[in-house]
């Protein structure tokens, strides 16, 4: 099987599993667990098959955005293989454990879905071969860890903890993104392999320090390093399987992984030493010290996790290859013993109903197996010989001694390391002694007993690994560790040995000191610690990071509110003024600083008729502006006049397609606005009152408008008279006929060269039409606009005054002659529209123009004969037309896939058709047909939906739904809530 296939399978299996699990019934616990177990085991199988080749490094490239150097690259080397093994291996054990931990009342498939998705994201992080891709997966891990921590979302603590974790890690992720962008800029590529080989250049670069700080913020927030450590203890509100997974092997190790990965690139400088080393040291001590005082089992484990993460960070910060080896080794060891301890804590919680160590005692009587396993794991955490924790901790101590020759830390470093190790012994001992030994517990919610066998199994596996690594490291972990170390350090790999016994040396002495002093400290202080009411360490409890975080968030919100109050408004006018003024001022500044617009005298002679035409156009525009408030109808007609002048300008300047489109759109727009006029309130000029303030404001607006007009005029003139630029138009002119078989280049551009744009555009048109339809379904006109229009009242009163006439007769007879003419015109306009459509490829015309013409045919019927008559005689289903048009256009585009061409490739040939002669037939024509059909549907839908408002029955008539109306058109709905609000109580 090709390795690239295995790589892709490794990442896609959990994604597919997550999707499948999300579709399972809410309480299908066993099905979800089986699915998740199958997926994780399959991933493990893939990993096993990749183990041999990964030592040399394998990668799979999928082009994504090759033009800017961003591709999907999945790579696997020794290091990422080791991390992937932890992610999938511990993942598989957590899947098994969670099946027994989660209660049948929980929506377990959702849990497994999140878990698998999180696993996929973690695998994505460790397997990414591209910096940007890595950040994306990194952020996905933040999102899914949020969902996992908040799984019991009914608990406020879980929501709070999840929000805190997400805020911290996602904010760090943003910093990381910027850091990665800088890193990519320095290396000249976002490809990880290129970046890894450019270490020298990057460290010497000016941007190194900002990039380093940003990347470290990302890694520190993720791996909960001081001062970003506060979120991790609060994340303990998550279900225990989540804690076991996220806080042992995965989420918090992502930051560690990143720093190990970039170790060859970023480390080796003083900045790295100071930043990473001090953050690690601070976290190590604070975490270990705080862990001692926790009464909550999971709280103790959370703080101990902090301290171990700090230990690994400190090792990475020491700038020594041997320390890096120890860091990788301790990462693996910590994952094994911490996952098993979390699971053991979960079992205790599950079987006794409490995690409070003050209530727990003597559990070894009830659960001997769990107790023995937990004891071994805790011993590994404390660094007892013959266990894996001992090996890496001894390497750590040896490294601190080796570093103590450097002046910065001298003896402080090994002393502090030993102190932290003693603390670690202390809290491990407390965990075991308080929980499992002593008298039987007195106030446990449940009577303790051993859990189901399969719940202990994952712990047993992990403890066995601890033992095997601790006793025979050379036969077990050594080759895997070596592959990982070589992947990171390459030729700089130092000599190291994984034996248990290195003889009597200083490191062993420190180990012994730590062990003995830890035990002594426990013996001396245990009663005081257990009696501590707060469950928090002395001194440190004052600095409640959570309170700081909360007040910081509150201040941010206050700042945002203040800014909104100060700088924002819900009023439209100031916003529009800003929108106009800002670009105007910026434009003026640019023109002023760049030496003004270059105005050329290279102009064509002014045609007096053209000038006259625009005199009319200008008067229309200004008139429309002047009349738009009190005389809407006049303004509308004047605006139409300006539109007609535009249309004539297009005719004048050799753009027939534009002229036709403009004319037709002008007609449709005018009809549309006319339909809307009825619903607007009457505005009476005699009520106008002019204050001084409003005069000033109008004066200012007028001057801004004039300046904007002058500026645009100058800009237009400068653009028009500039020397002809090298345009891509000649490309289209040369190829329109030879390659697309059309002589109307504008139409060929629309349906062939730029067909994808057109597809997007008609989609927008369809969406707008449907939106209008949807808004109007709920339209409630203002009360005073509901009455019968004045003209109709006149007509009706005329009818009632004359004995020979029925009421409504004048209305029926109104426009009799135009109505007949328009009814006759209907087929003629349709034929004309089809003609415009068919000739579109070679002559002015095409789908847009024909569609508008066709819809005008329908609108004329509505206008002349009325809505009821028209719909009684014509079935108009505009929504169907819209859907059909989109389908045809998309189908014409997708069709080219069948022949192996890219989307929307068109094909044409000249065909002899009897009587018509040689006709060019292009598949672009089919696309144009889609455009045509959609434009017809959209235009009719917009206008008719608006027109229907006039014949809707007033809402007070409760039951009346006019059955003669098309169901596709907005019909008045009897709405319960509206009716209720309208009835006077």
């Amino acid at each position: 099987m090709p390795t690239s296939f295995l790589l892709l399978a490794l990442i896609s299996l959990p994604i597919g599993g997550a999707l499948l699990a999300s579709w399972l019934p809410t309480y299908a616990r066993n099905a979800a667990a089986t699915l998740a177990a199958t997926v994780t085991l399959a991933c493990l199988l893939c990993l096993a098959m990749l183990q041999g080749v990964s030592a040399e490094g394998v990668r799979a490239d999928i082009p994504w955005l090759p033009s800017i150097g961003i591709n999907l690259v999945f790579r696997l080397d020794g290091l990422s293989w080791l991390f992937a093994l932890m992610i999938t291996g511990i993942g598989a054990l957590v899947v098994l454990y969670a099946r027994y931990y989660m209660s049948a009342e929980d929506p377990v498939p959702r849990f497994y879905s999140f878990l698998l998705a999180f696993m996929a994201a973690m695998l994505g992080v460790v397997m990414s071969g591209n910096l940007i891709q890595l950040v994306i997966f990194w952020e996905i891990t933040s999102l899914f860890s949020f969902l996992l921590i908040a799984y019991w979302h009914q608990s406020a603590n879980a929501r709070e903890g999840a929000r805190m974790a997400l805020t911290t890690t996602a904010a760090g992720g943003l910093c990381l993104l910027v850091g990665m962008l800088l890193l990519g800029k320095m290396a000249g590529s976002f490809d990880l392999d290129v970046v890894l080989s450019a270490g020298e250049r990057i460290r010497a670069h000016d941007l190194y320090l900002p990039a380093l700080i940003l990347i470290l913020i990302g890694a520190f927030t993720k791996s909960a390093q001081f001062p970003f450590h506060f979120w991790l203890p609060h994340a303990m509100a998550a279900p225990t399987p989540v804690s076991a997974y996220l806080h042992s092997a995965t989420l918090v190790k992502a930051g560690i992984f990143l720093l190990i990965l970039l170790w060859p690139v970023l480390s080796g400088t003083d900045a790295w030493y100071v930043l990473v080393g001090s953050a690690g040291m601070a976290t190590l001590l604070i975490g270990a010290f705080a862990a001692i005082y926790q009464h909550d089992l999971k709280g103790l484990l959370a703080y101990s996790t902090l301290s171990h993460l700090g230990l690994i960070m400190l090792l990475l910060g020491l700038n020594s290859p041997l320390a890096a080896v120890a860091a990788i080794f301790h990462t693996v060891n910590h994952a094994t013993f911490k996952a098993s301890l979390f699971m053991a804590a979960g079992i205790i919680d599950h079987e006794t109903g409490t995690r409070d160590m003050r209530k727990l005692s003597g559990l070894i009587r009830y659960m001997p197996l769990t107790a023995s396993l937990a004891m071994v794991a805790a011993a590994a955490m404390a660094g007892v010989p013959l266990l894996n924790g001992f090996l890496s901790k001894e390497m750590f101590l040896a490294e601190t001694i080796a570093q103590s020759s450097s002046p910065q830390f001298s003896y402080a470093l090994p002393a502090l390391a030993t102190l932290a190790s003693a603390f670690s012994v202390l809290y491990s001992l407390r965990f075991i002694h308080k929980t499992f030994f002593g008298p039987p517990p007195v106030d446990c919610p449940h009577t303790p007993k051993e859990p189901p066998r399969w719940m202990i199994f994952p712990i047993a596996v992990l403890v066995l690994i601890c033992l095997v690594i601790g006793i025979i490291p050379g036969l077990t972990i050594a080759p895997l560790l070596n592959a990982a170390v070589v992947a990171v350090l390459g030729d700089n790999t130092p000599y190291y040995s994984l034996r248990i016994w290195h003889g009597f040396n200083p490191a062993l002495a420190l180990s012994v000191i730590a062990l003995v002093s830890g035990i002594l400290l426990y013996v001396c202080f245990r009663n005081r610690i257990n009696a501590n009411p707060r469950g928090a360490p002395p001194f440190l409890h004052r600095f409640q990071a959570r309170r700081l975080f909360d007040s910081l968030m509150a201040r941010l919100v206050m700042l945002a509110r203040f800014m909104e109050r100060r700088f924002s408004t819900r009023s439209l006018q100031p916003q529009l003024r800003l929108l106009v003024l800002v670009p105007l001022i910026i434009g003026l500044i640019i023109v002023a600083t760049s030496g003004g617009l270059s105005i050329s005298t290279n102009v064509q002679a002014v045609d007096p008729f053209f000038a006259l035409l625009w005199l009319v156009g200008g008067v229309c525009a200004v008139g429309a502006a002047y009349q738009a408030k009190y005389h809407r109808f006049v303004a509308l007609i004047l605006m139409g006049g300006a539109g007609i002048v535009c249309c004539l300008t297009f005719v004048w300047l050799s753009a027939p397609d534009l002229a036709i489109t403009q004319l037709l759109v002008e007609i449709v727009t005018t009809v549309l606005l006319l339909l809307g006029l009825r619903w607007l309130p009457v505005r009476r000029e005699d009520l106008r009152k002019e204050t001084r303030r409003s005069k000033i404001r109008r004066g200012l607006d007028l001057s801004v408008a004039v300046i904007a007009g002058l500026a645009v005029a100058a800009l237009t003139f400068a653009v028009m008279t500039r020397p002809a630029a090298n345009s891509i138009s000649s490309f289209f002119l040369e190829r329109a006929y030879s390659e697309a078989g059309g002589r109307n280049v504008v139409n060929v551009l629309l349906v062939d060269f730029r067909a994808f744009d057109t597809l997007g555009e008609i989609t927008v048109l369809g969406v707008v039409a449907l939106t209008i339809f949807a808004i109007l379904r709920r339209f409630r006109p203002a009360q005073e606009a509901m009455a019968t229009p004045r003209q109709q009242r006149w007509q009706n009163s005329f009818d009632s005054d004359h004995a020979t006439r029925d009421v409504g007769q004048t209305l029926r007879e109104y426009l009799m002659v135009p109505r007949v003419v328009i009814q006759w015109l209907f087929p003629i306009i349709i034929v004309f529209a089809l003609y415009l459509f068919l000739r579109g490829h070679d002559m002015p015309g095409g789908g847009f123009i024909a569609g508008l013409a066709m819809s005008i045919a329908f609108i004329l019927q509505y206008m002349a004969s009325g809505t009821r008559w028209t719909e009684a005689h014509l079935r108009v289903l505009p929504v169907t037309w819209i859907g059909l048009g989109l389908l045809i256009a998309t189908g014409a585009g997708v069709g080219s896939w069948l022949f192996g061409y890219p989307l929307l490739t068109s094909y044409f040939q000249y065909t002899d058709i009897p009587f018509l002669g040689t006709v060019p037939l292009a598949t672009a024509m089919l696309f144009d047909l889609g455009v045509f059909v959609l434009v017809v549907g959209a235009t009719i839908l917009m206008l008719v939906a608006l027109a229907h408002q006039s014949i809707r029955k007033p809402r007070v008539v409760e039951t009346d739904t006019d059955t003669t109306e098309e169901d596709a058109l907005p019909a008045p709905e009897p709405e319960a809530e509206t009716l209720q609000t309208e009835r006077p109580d």
Partner: protein, 114 residues
């Protein structure tokens, strides 16, 4: 010719901007349409003004400089149609707002000053 069209665009923009700042929805919609005219004419004019140049290809004339520039025309054609859709949507939104709030002020409530 250029100066006439530039001034025409300027007048359209000035009238449109003035209307954009007005408080009544119908004024804003008219202003919006006038600015749309100006913008379509501006984009169109970027290709240069050609009077009497053929827009339709003639297989006999190979020289591409003899024709009008089709690219701005194609851009403007779609712009005109989208303008129409925008105007329609805007109109319906303002009608709905008028129905809901009982006023045709752009903010949905009358202010003391106009």
């Amino acid at each position: 010719m250029e100066i006439v069209l530039s001034l025409a665009i300027g007048v359209l923009v000035a009238s449109g901007v003035w209307l954009l700042f007005r408080p009544r929805t119908f004024q804003v919609i008219i202003g919006f349409s006038l600015i749309s005219y100006a913008v379509t004419l501006f984009i169109f004019s970027v290709g240069g003004l050609r009077i009497g140049a053929p827009p339709i290809l003639d297989p006999a004339v190979k020289d591409v400089s003899a024709y009008t520039d089709p690219l701005p025309q194609a851009l403007v054609l779609t712009a005109i149609v989208i303008n129409f859709a925008m105007t329609a949507l805007f109109l319906v939104v303002l009608l709905a707002s008028r129905g809901l709030t009982g006023t045709d002020h752009v903010d949905g409530q009358e202010t003391t000053e106009q």
